[in-house]
């Protein structure tokens, strides 16, 4: 009789241990996915920052009277580069958005410069930057998806119990500004 009780207790403890290990691994996998999602955003932001000087170069000759906007882009790019070297994700995203806004103004103004619009180099850069913008949007979306599945695991029972046991807290979503829900369409 006593041995039976011991066996049952042992089995329950074993089961609890296995579940705990399972949840620990699950949390780790989901957290890794979030950091992977973040590095995807990071890669695209770096690419964007790298392309901007070329864009400014190709534009400068045509847009002599738009010094203000070119300066704004250069400034925004500096902001992104310095944000990229810091580890702060929110800062990076904000700097990336600022650069994006400055560039979409440039692309809007470029409509008034037919010579510029005929420039192959400019067109190619414009296309590339538009593609990067899409990728940033998808990478953000995947980041939020990853945070969602992580949060679901650590806020629902029984995951919530193990989350508090391992000291895991729900992650934060990346806020996407209303105006940017729809990707900014670059007009050609």
């Amino acid at each position: 009789m006593i041995s039976l009780i011991l066996i049952i207790i042992g089995a329950v403890i074993l089961l609890l241990l296995i579940t705990a290990f399972g949840y620990f691994n699950r949390f780790t996998i989901l957290q890794n996915r979030i950091s992977n999602a973040f590095s995807q955003i990071d890669v695209q932001l770096k690419k964007r920052a790298d392309l901007v000087p070329n864009l400014v170069e190709s534009v400068r000759g045509y847009m002599r009277h738009e010094r203000e906007i070119i300066e704004k882009i250069s400034e925004a790019r500096k902001g992104l580069v310095s944000a990229n070297s810091s580890g702060d994700i929110v800062k990076k995203i904000k700097a990336g958005d600022a650069l994006q806004n400055a560039m979409s103004r440039l692309f809007a103004i470029s409509e008034n410069y037919p010579d510029l619009k005929a420039n192959q180099n400019f067109l190619q850069l414009q296309q590339e930057l538009a593609a990067i913008e899409d990728k940033i949007a998808y990478a953000r979306q995947f980041y939020n998806d990853s945070v969602l599945s992580y949060n679901n695991t650590c806020t629902t029972i029984p995951g919530a119990w193990f989350a508090s046991l391992f000291g895991k807290k729900a992650g934060k979503y990346l806020e996407i500004p209303e105006a940017e829900r729809e990707p900014v369409k670059v007009k050609f």
Partner: protein
Amino acid sequence: MAKGIEKISFHDQIARNKWRSFFLVIIVFIVLIALGYVISLAFDPGYFFIIMIIATIISLLYVMLTYYNSDKIALASVGAKKADKILHRNLYIAVENMSIASGLPMPQVYVMPGNQINAFATGHNPKNAVICVTEGALAKLNKQELEGVIGHEMSHIANYDIRYMTTVAVVVGAISIISQMVLRSMWYGNRDREGKSNIIFLLIAIVFAILAPIVVMLVQFAISRKREFMADAGSVQFTRYPPGLIGALKKIKGEYEPMKVPDAVKPLFFSDTSRKISGLFQTHPPIDERIKILEAM
């Protein structure tokens, strides 16, 4: 947004697909052993063990070889070529975008000839997956529509549908080869030998050989239809833009030209390759039904 994702349990689907793939391989071995048994009885029970050993070795070899080369076989059978990064720039970007949105590794990208809009994915796991798109799809679909189609294929990759469908294709191929062999050997086999039991077993073997591939195919098609709905939902989760996929489906609906592809690879495709057959033999759900569900999302 959260709701849409929660409705579909991808983890359950992945586990189910992995288990089913395994189960299917087991089934095919049982079928092969049963076939071998019937054949040996029909010819000469004395050869039972030799026939069984040969059958097992051949089937093992076949399954291993085709399983590990299935992507290449599928691509070769439809005449697909590797996509060019510059020539097919839009396709590459669409696949890159969907790979980022799904968090999966970048698959290999192929283009196959044909004016129809269609696409398929193959491989055994997300790390060595392939997405293949027809030239027609590249010419006729806009960016959002193409992303919808690629998202659908990406979702097949994420759900391990590709592994399951690959296994199914291998198994269907194996059974049809064996039943062909049985039927032919019956035809040309020893007709001069008499005996009631022989005739009975001969009949069983013939029925078996005829029925086996049909049963397997029906099972395969029935399951394939369900997973198409799952993949449509997955595509919308990746693109967050149902009108893209809806637009692609509507354009496909407007086409009437059937595609010529081998039977085994048919279920891999984005939409039905032929239009005449309907009901049980269809590899995909009706397009109208798919559109209706997507419009409700």
